[in-house]
Symmetry: C2
Subunit: 269 residues, 2 copies
Amino acid sequence: MCELLGMSANVPTDIVFSFSGLMRRGGETGPHADGWGIAFYEDKGCRAFHDPRPSARSEVARFVRDTPIKSRIVICHIRRANRGRIALENTHPFQRELWGRPWSFAHNGQLKGVKRWRLGAYCPIGSTDSEHAFCWLLDALRARFAAPPSDRELAAAVEELARRLAALGVFNMLLSDGRSLFCHCSTKLAWLTRRAPFGPATLVDADLAADFEQETTPDDVVTVVATRPLTRDEAWTVMEPGSCVVFRQGNRVTLPRRRAAPVTRRKAA
Amino acid sequence: MCELLGMSANVPTDIVFSFSGLMRRGGETGPHADGWGIAFYEDKGCRAFHDPRPSARSEVARFVRDTPIKSRIVICHIRRANRGRIALENTHPFQRELWGRPWSFAHNGQLKGVKRWRLGAYCPIGSTDSEHAFCWLLDALRARFAAPPSDRELAAAVEELARRLAALGVFNMLLSDGRSLFCHCSTKLAWLTRRAPFGPATLVDADLAADFEQETTPDDVVTVVATRPLTRDEAWTVMEPGSCVVFRQGNRVTLPRRRAAPVTRRKAA
C-alpha cells in the first residue's frame, strides 16, 4: 500500500507543512520506501518531482520540503511497491495530457486484472497496474468527450469510471486536470478544509506545529486530502468506502446525483 | 532565441559540469532569463525539472547543479521568450508519451504559421509555437507507425518531419524518446563526443574546469550538444544548417540516405 496527499486551494499555497509529515512515512515513521513523487499545478502548467528513492532519505524530497512552491492543486504519493519494480517509470503521480490539460494521477491499492483492459491512445511507460488504470480512464474520457465537457459533466464521468475501476480491487485515487481535484475512496482517504478562523495544527509524524492564522488571509480556503489524517488536532472527515469527492478552489463541489437507469417506454400497440 | 543543451552517453553520467556553464547564460552571462527546464532519462522513465524563473537565479537550477543526477540522455533548455508569455506551461522541454515511451522536446527558433497546422491526438497546454510543433511531430509519427518502428526507420522519419518544420523558419531542436537523441540544426547547434583518452576541459561561461579522466572509465562515451560550444579547449563540431544528427549510447548513428522520389513507371501502350 502507498500513501496519498492532495491539496486544493483558492490561492497559491505551499504544502510544505503537510509534506514534511508525509515524507517521514517514506522509510522513517512508515514503510513506504519505494519512491515518491509530487505534482504542482501553477496556472495552466504542472511540474512534478519524482524520485525512486525513499522520501525520508531523498535529496529531492528535502529540496521540496525546504522550498515553498505555491500551487492551487497538489498531488503527492509515497510508494510501497506491490506491482512493478522500484524504478522511476513506476513512480506516481503519472502524467498525461488530454484536451490540452496536464492530468496527474496517484493511486493506492491493487486492481486485479486491469492490465487486460484494452487501451487506445495512451500506453503505460512502466509496469504498474496503476498507470494502466490511469491510461484506461483517460482513454474512456477521450472517447466520451471529443472536447472538454463542463466541470460538472466531467466530475460525473470521473466518478463513474472510478467506480468501475474500484470494482477490481482497492482504488484510493487522487486525480487532477488542473481545475478540479478528484478523490475516490475504496478503503482509506480523509480530508480537511481549512478556512477562517484559522487555528493551530500539529503533525502526527513530526514534532512540527503551524499556526495558519499567521500565514493566511480571511478569504483563503485550503483543503488537504490524505490516506490518514496528518494532524492530531484538527477535525478530518474520513471518507466512506466507495465514495467520491471533488474539490475546486479549495471547496467541495456537489456531484450530480446519479440517475437511475432510464425506463424504456413502449409504444401502445 | 533560446539555448539548448543535450547529452547522450553509454553509461549513466551527470551533466553538472555542462549545466553549470549553461545556467549562467539564463540571466547572467546571457539574456535567456524567461525560464528553463531539464529532462533526465533513467532506464525507461524520465523526470524533468521546470522553472519559469531565470536559471541564474533559480533555486531549482541550483539544486540540479549541486545534485549529480546520473542519466543516459538529457535535454535542457533556457528560454528567451518570443512567442508565449513567461509561464510554467510555456517552459521547455515539453513532454508527451507515444508507444509507451516518454518523449521530450526542446526548440530554439520560430516557426511562422505552424499553429495553423492541424493536430490530432496531442494538444498544446501552453501557447508556444514550439509545443504546437512538437504535438504535430508526434501526431505524424503516430499516424505513420501504429507500433514503434526500428530505431533506423524512426530516425529517418524524425529527420524528414524536422525538415518540414524547419521550412517554416528557424528550427534548432533536441528530441528524445529515451533511446535516441535527435538533433536538428537550422542555424546554431554544435556537438562534442568525449571518449578515452579523456582530457581536461574549461567552461566558457564560468571559472570552472574538469578533468574527465578522473571521473570516467576507458569505455565511457559521452556526447554533449549545445547551441554554442560550452568549453574553450575542446574540438566541437559545428553542425551544418539544415542537418540532422542522431546519437545513441553516446555515439553518432549514421542516418539512412534519403531516397530520391520514386520514378513512376508507365506501362508501354
